[in-house]
Homo-oligomer: 283 residues x 4
């Protein structure tokens, strides 16, 4: 059985030695270790992948011992994950289909190891895509008046389907604080600019007006401050004076879908940790 | 003789046909033509390279006829350039030597077709580089008190040496409005961020704090608004949580020197035009 | 009406002037002109986009006059295209679905201005994708014995549906000379390496073995020599020692689909010309 | 004192635990650990950076204990390095100055922590650069007749100056087997193509002829097979039909110098290991 352990704690001597000794003593074989020290904050981060013999493997006992023998002593925040179940990913969309198609085709070919309980949208437009892939589609419209009902319906669906994390695949609607607090560092957004440049609405128009020679896309965890959450992944492509705003939008679509998919994969593989509004991305 | 013509004028039917007909009628051979229409502003831009037989070629007559036969009719702003003389480029530096070395080594190998009458600095530190390359070095210090004398000395040197354009090769001092107005779209700066992100001081520190995954450098013409002039060239490189601020600075240096040199080359080859605070970069 | 003209001919003085004069005389308005001279071969290439008033526009007359007034004199090869009909694109696939999904989702959102009369495959596996998008799917199996029948069936389908060009979207079967000769510079392939490195089978395995730090994908027109046709588009991504062959394959998929789609768009917009086994890609 | 340990050995359970335990037991503090397992070869690689208290630190004792307590048991190949001395780097050049200037300006600004005992060339042309930087320049000409004397002189200089590694900064002369065997994985070359494409002479000409849309540069350790040694670093830039061979060469120069400098820095920081003709590049 493959076991992933994520740790962060105040930095001090001997952590790696203690943790690797613990795995060894529990008959695990470390197949990957990546660690990072944030020197300004004096915090230690580690991601470990280990193989444990399936026979007689007791996850609860491992967790209990980890807590007792390591976590208390080193003041660790930690989590242990196995590959025995797939995380449940909800997709929120509006009217653009490119990110949705990209994620669903990866899901279909087995590249994304998740379950997709439903697709939710504030518009009815993309139901046909959900139908193509046989995934339930919930249309939860939003207006100034029904804001609270809409949020309540979102939360109710997320709970009913036991959703683990949410991907905003070009969902053009502000996500409520309630939702953000229910899913801290578990809502992944794609913003169609090279953040922090051009945060907010209409970034391609702003980029065109400024006359930049490169445009980008940024995937980040959603926090209460708009477009200011921890960045997971960014990529860019060149533009020139020959490109119109609609060329920017068209070139940008290819960035958006690739950048969002990479971020989702990193999250699913538990290769991301968040600290001080920044991410550590393990290799 | 190689002749470059740059034109901009209100867009209308027949401009290309008229201009190419003019060249043809004057026994020129068009070896390159690039044109662009800014549709929102309805402005036409063109860059033409032509070969004219050197014998009997009369530049002044060509200009006179161009004005009479084309420019008046089409309300053109235009300029005509030949390769018979090299532009004079002044280099302004402070303490970092990487952009300076990069430009001087290109100059030395003939890659940059310019003259360099002098290097000017607000610090004495880089005189040794100027000495290595046998170029005059003027130390013009700046303080709150001597601001006006400093600017006057700069202007006097620029006039005395008939400087055509100025390159700020990591010159860490605000350039005065007087200088900017004397050299409109003729002062090239390198800013060590992917503008408009992280304008102003200490962009690498700001990028580090924001946790971006890509850093950049931007070369632009200097205007009165800080770091907001027309962008000539940008490039980027990836970073990760493993990089410290000093890694950002070190990786950024390679971007800065390459991006600045590309911008300088574009300017020297007269491949840049400025309109509405944006550049057209001809291919 | 938008009219695109593609020209190539021996280089000589006055071509641009004559062609733009012709357009002007026929009441067309040039909205874009890009030209290139291959100096070693002394050949001139041009792509023109013009607007003609729809009322009274006579395409056949324009072609006749173009031939008479320009083409004969300058020994031009040329073609004239309008946007009044969409080209018919056949998709050939095998078992991988990523390029297919990518092209179909672009088709669906209107990004690709083509008709797709059918998808053809040497395997039955991807019929479900064709069904999702309501496009006919023809399974034409290939074996050593049925080679000729297979080719005949391909050709018969292509003719029956009046296919204009073919996209090999990871079609893992050698295309016959007959087909290549029927569709010269009209069959677009995606090869999963940075050609000319790693031509032939299993390029990711070869790249892994060589220990490269960057992998690529190449889209090209198919010629009789395997993986040696004119290159339309290439792109790359970084890899490291931490990546396995299956990581190469996974990262490569994102390159393949983006690079292939870009090439298809360039072809559809008639921005490609082929000469001496190389492409001119107009901007 | 900063201590870097490099290890490779057959993979087995418990290595990380044993090594980190050893460091801990010797009062070292691990500040960085990166490990890699080549699963096809079943080989384990590790790079460790540790801090040891300078007082009472005994490097020889540490090495002796490492050998006795770890290396014998795990069949390790290993090396231990401290930052108490700088490696000696010889530069071999021919006629191009861009890589040379780039390395020397980095050396000058403290970015490259090495000593440069001399520059050696088969031509006299670049002596002026050596003079600018006050570094000895040895002109060792090569012809068919004097091949052996030339090689002997090279070796004699390398020994006399106790050179640790050699950088071929566009040295256009085949390096002898004797030299390669004296400096295994210690001669760094820059090849001006995206290897394995266009190995051998005149790669830019070959790339131009093939009509590629991207060109590259590759830095690698020199082995007896030409341009086939372990790749350290690669980078690329886009080209188009508008670029001539001399444009390829000019754009390529910027790649060459950046790629070579990155490789040299990785080598100096002992972040490279070679196995099966491939490199592991630690982060």
């Amino acid at each position: 059985m493959k076991v992933v352990i994520l740790i962060n704690c105040p930095d001090q001597k001997g952590i790696i030695s203690s943790v690797t000794g613990f795995i060894h003593a529990n008959n695990g074989n470390i197949i990957y270790l990546d660690q990072h020290v944030d020197k300004s904050a004096d915090v230690f981060f580690m991601r470990l992948e280990s193989d444990f013999d399936g026979d007689g493997f007791n996850l609860e006992l491992l967790k209990k011992n980890f807590q007792k023998e390591l976590a208390v002593n080193y003041k660790m925040e930690w989590s242990i994950h196995t590959d025995s179940s797939k995380p449940k990913m909800a997709l929120f969309v509006s009217k653009y289909n490119h990110c949705l198609y990209d994620l669903l085709s990866r899901f279909n070919s087995g590249e994304l190891s998740v379950e997709i309980p439903f697709i939710l949208s504030n518009h009815p437009d993309l139901k046909y895509v959900a139908d193509q892939f046989n995934i339930p589609y919930f249309h939860v419209p939003f207006s100034k008046e029904n804001r609270e009902e809409g949020e309540a319906e979102q939360l109710s669906l997320l709970k009913k389907y036991k959703v683990d994390f949410i991907v905003l695949a070009r969902y053009m609607q502000i996500v409520s604080s309630t939702l953000i607090n229910e899913y801290p560092n578990k809502i992944i957004n794609i913003h169609h600019s090279f953040l922090p440049a051009f945060a907010g609405a209409k970034p391609y128009h702003a980029a065109f007006k400024r006359g930049v020679k490169i445009i980008g896309a940024t995937s980040h965890y959603v926090t209460e401050e708009l477009d200011a959450g921890p960045i997971i992944e960014q990529d860019v492509t060149t533009v020139s004076h020959t490109h119109t705003i609609s060329d920017f939008i068209s070139k940008g679509r290819d960035l958006e879908k690739i950048v969002l998919s990479r971020a989702v994969k990193l999250h699913v593989l538990r290769k991301t940790m968040v600290y001080n509004n920044k991410t550590i991305i393990f290799s």
